[in-house]
């Protein structure tokens, strides 16, 4: 820098024109332009492509992410619809199951009632039959007991009351009837 300042002062004194007055030194300016161009070229050659590549990659990633997010949103919406549909189907199925269960329960109750009624009727019928049998048996027993009693009483009474004359009449009557 010291060199450049010294060079500039020397040049200012030598030329003394407007550029010098303004402090602009052509050599220095050219040098700076060349350096700038070299810098621009270096940047354009090495830094800018890398930077653009990174930016492009980043942009691609962002776009991909956005796309993925959109897809995820779509999927979420689709899943939401699927869930709604599943819920609807589940409700319908649950309703069907409840209806079927109610019908089956009603059928089971009706069947149980029918069986219970049939069983009750059978019990009543059996009871009637048993009662009739008991009545018949009782009548038979009464009949037999009555006959036994009548025979016994007749034997006792006849044994005491039938006199010889009565016996004679009985025999005569029997002989006449058979003759």
């Amino acid at each position: 820098m010291d060199f450049l300042t010294q060079f500039a002062a020397t040049e200012e004194a030598a030329s003394g024109d407007i550029m010098t007055t303004l402090g602009i030194h052509w050599e220095l300016l050219a040098f700076q332009i060349i350096a700038f161009l070299i810098l621009v070229w270096a940047l354009g050659k090495f830094v800018y492509p890398w930077l653009m590549k990174s930016v492009d990659e980043r942009q691609a990633k962002i776009e991909e992410s956005v796309k993925a997010a959109e897809e995820a949103e779509k999927k979420a919406e689709s899943a939401q619809e699927d869930i709604a549909k599943l819920l609807k189907d589940a409700r319908v199925e649950a309703k069907d199951i409840v209806t079927t269960a109610k019908d089956e329960a009603a059928a089971m109750v009706a069947d149980a009632e029918g069986k219970a009624k049939a069983r009750a009727e059978k019990i009543v019928k059996d009871a009637h039959e048993q009662l009739e049998k008991d009545v018949i048996a009782a009548r038979k027993a009464l009949h037999n007991d009555t006959i036994e009693l009548v025979a016994l009483a007749t034997e006792k009474i006849v044994g005491k009351t039938v006199s010889e004359s009565v016996d004679k009449k009985i025999i005569a009557q029997a002989v006449k009837e058979q003759a």
Binding site: E164, I171, Q178
Partner: protein, 129 residues
């Protein structure tokens, strides 16, 4: 009498003829049954003799009553048997059985007439179910 085993029918016919001829048959019959070792058939032979006698017009009847039969009743029964069987001669063997209670039971070789009160009571009790 030969010891050859004769049929009961022939024995009965022989002794029935002997009885009709007025000969006693008790001892000969007993002797034969003992000799032929057929004493167990005595009751059957007697029954067969009664049947043989009935075939020959001589009826033997067992008459059972609860009391002793009077002569009048015997005559009445004899007349009844003569009339109903067409027998030439009727002989009754009276039996007294108080268990009969009343009435008469007449047993002939072929039939039985039972009009006793006991029989009627038995018929009554037989109707038990």
């Amino acid at each position: 009498m030969a010891t050859t085993k004769l049929s009961r029918r022939k024995i009965a016919a022989y002794f029935a003829d002997e009885l009709i001829a007025g000969r006693s048959v008790v001892k000969p019959l007993a002797a034969y049954l003992v000799e032929a070792k057929r004493t167990r058939e005595a009751a059957l032979v007697v029954r067969d003799i009664e049947s043989a006698l009935a075939d020959r017009g001589v009826l033997l009847a067992d008459v059972s009553t609860a009391r002793e039969l009077t002569a009048e009743m015997k005559k009445e029964i004899t007349g009844f048997l003569t009339q109903t069987t067409n027998a030439k001669s009727v002989h009754i063997k009276p039996h007294v059985d108080p268990h009969l209670l009343g009435g008469v039971r007449i047993d002939t070789p072929s039939t039985r007439l039972d009009t006793t009160i006991r029989h009627r009571l038995n018929k009554l009790t037989a109707t038990k179910i």
